[in-house]
């Protein structure tokens, strides 16, 4: 038998109390991990947006278009490297619930402005040569078993009719935070058909995307664009892609800050839960500690016993919480759209934070009981009446 065995036996002395403490720590760690992951995912979302892209949209609403004629004027603005544009197509692929983004884009500039969509030169050539071609994200292609060369038919709603597209490429995302679900086809194809079928809707862009030379110039360029079109047919609202992407949740940044704070408050709560358990246990064992000291066991031995038990409990609680927390986050990642949180996952940093927090908790929770056990005089321990 070793001192370690006494430690294990001690921790199992009140099975219910120990289990509840472990459960408490687990729940706290789950909450911690989920909150931290959301906060981290949000940070990633902000970073995922390319720093050099600027979105120009109709100042009234995103659903109103901007004339194609703006393109030349935008290209002439100082600091603008490239101009591309897109229209939200909508439509239905087979079933209504098969949702993925479908956009008409300018094939000449799109892939340059969005380098995170990876296709081969051959595929690019096909996209350039065939007006009816499209590219589709890997995730969507896998989901619907779509292959290069297939014909994908969309039923238009915003733009009525049946629309056939030939898959020129299944694009790969450059990194984990790139959206691999989109379908992009050629804007000139859309526009040609509109000129024939409903000419009054032709020659409109849903929005423009400007690629700028220097991200530091974004504010100035945005200002210039909006001033330029202030009194035109369609006034514009221009902002960085970052601001645009996160626009609707940036208003909830206060919530995220709160989450961040709460996630650390939770650690304080675990400390109290575990501290309480450890203090109760140590109090009950006052006499036993006196017996051990009488037999010649030192303060170091008692420290080992108490610290070990505290760390054991916090470690089990932390590990269980981490595993369950990971499952919750993975589940959330599957339901929350990628556009909100491109990468909802438990990061190594957050795993380390949670484990450090759990261990720190175990450590801190044992300080008082250790101090008490070590410094109580043997004779006082024997006279102690719990």
């Amino acid at each position: 038998m070793k001192i370690l065995k006494i430690m294990f036996k001690n921790s199992m002395r009140h099975k219910l109390r120990t289990s509840l403490t472990i459960l408490g720590i687990s729940v706290a760690v789950i909450a911690f991990i989920v909150m931290r992951s959301i906060v981290s995912a949000w940070d990633v979302g902000v970073e995922a947006a390319a720093a050099d892209r600027v979105i120009v949209r109709n100042s009234v609403s995103f659903i109103f278009p901007i004339p194609y004629a703006y393109k030349d004027k935008l290209e002439k603005i100082d600091g603008v490297k490239r101009v591309t544009w897109a229209n939200w197509f909508g439509g239905v692929y087979k079933e209504k619930e098969n949702f993925f983004g479908r956009l008409a884009v300018d094939h000449n500039t799109f892939l340059d402005v969005y380098p995170e969509f990876l296709i081969t030169p051959d595929e690019k050539k096909m996209f350039m040569d065939d007006i009816q071609s499209c590219i589709i994200g890997e995730a969507t292609a896998n989901q619907f078993n779509i292959k290069k060369g297939d014909i994908v038919t969309l039923q238009g709603d915003i733009y009525p009719g049946n629309w056939d597209f030939k898959v020129a490429a299944v694009y790969k995302p450059r990194d984990k935070i790139t959206d691999a679900t989109g379908m992009y086809f050629r804007w000139d194809y859309l526009n040609e058909r509109l000129e024939k079928e409903s000419p009054d809707r032709a020659n409109d862009a849903g929005w423009y995307v400007l690629q700028v030379n220097d991200p530091k110039q974004i504010a100035a360029i945005s200002q210039k664009v909006d001033n330029y079109f202030k009194n035109s047919a369609a006034a514009t609202k221009t902002e960085s892609e970052r601001a645009f992407n996160q626009g609707f949740i940036s208003s909830s940044s206060a919530i995220l800050t709160a989450m961040n704070v709460v996630s650390f408050v939770i650690i304080g709560i675990i400390m109290l839960v575990l501290g309480n358990t450890m203090i109760m246990s140590a109090r009950e064992r006052t006499r036993e500690y006196s017996v051990l000291k009488t037999l010649g066991f030192s303060g170091k031995h008692l420290t080992g016993l108490i610290l070990g038990e505290s760390l054991l409990i916090s470690l089990i609680g932390g590990t269980v919480g981490l595993l369950l927390g990971e499952m919750v986050v993975t589940g959330l990642g599957q339901v929350v759209p990628k556009t909100i949180f491109p990468l909802l996952e438990v990061t190594t940093l957050n795993i380390i934070l949670a484990m450090v927090a759990a261990l720190l908790t175990g450590f801190i929770a044992s300080i008082f009981p250790i101090h008490k056990a070590v410094n109580t005089k043997i004779v006082d321990g024997f006279r102690f009446v719990g």
Binding site: M1, K2, I3, K5, I6, K9, N10, M12, R13, R287, E288, V291, L292, K293, T294, L295, G296, F297, S298, K377, I378, V379, F382
Partner: protein, 227 residues
Amino acid sequence: MSTLIEVTNLQKSYWRNNIEIPVLNKLNLGVESGEFLALMGPSGSGKTTLLNLIAGIDRPTEGKITIDGSDIAKMSESNLAKWRSANIGFIFQFYNLIPVLTAYENVELPLLLTKLKKDERKKHVETALTIVGLGDRMHHSPKQLSGGQEQRVAIARAIVTDPLILVADEPTGDLDKNSATEILNLMEKLNKEYKKTIVMVTHDPHAAERAGRILHLEKGELVKETV
């Protein structure tokens, strides 16, 4: 016989709320090697205090305690702890076994601080438990034992390191008459056969009768000696 325990001018006070509570007053006492000494006296007379001082789990306010030639009042806390584990076996009124450990493990406890290997420890533990007549109850937990059996485990724990001195504070105080007799027989055996020096505090005149000498303590002073 030589003097094993020598107590000179021993004084002990406790303080409560800055008020001094004198417990032992200029006490002198010698215990021969191999003696079985009983300490009697009214409640609060300082018997436990004296025993704890001799056993080195409490410190005197003044005076000298020499045991087997060493002045234990002068030892550092850690040296005293080592000295205790080598020289003193403790027997308490309420047994003070560790409830989560089996009889075997309780007896093994003091040996964990020695350099003995596992199988050597096993030999010692089994010997001690056999001496107290519990060779067949080694793996019972304290909860599964009677009071008398628990006290015998405690005695096995006290003798497993083969100490010079056994101190016992009312070892039969919590036991029925039969169990008490068994425990006293055992202690007598340890004194006579195993040559242990025993200092035992007791309220029970029958228990005291087993000792070779009875000292009476009153208000922190030795008042009477019966042989």
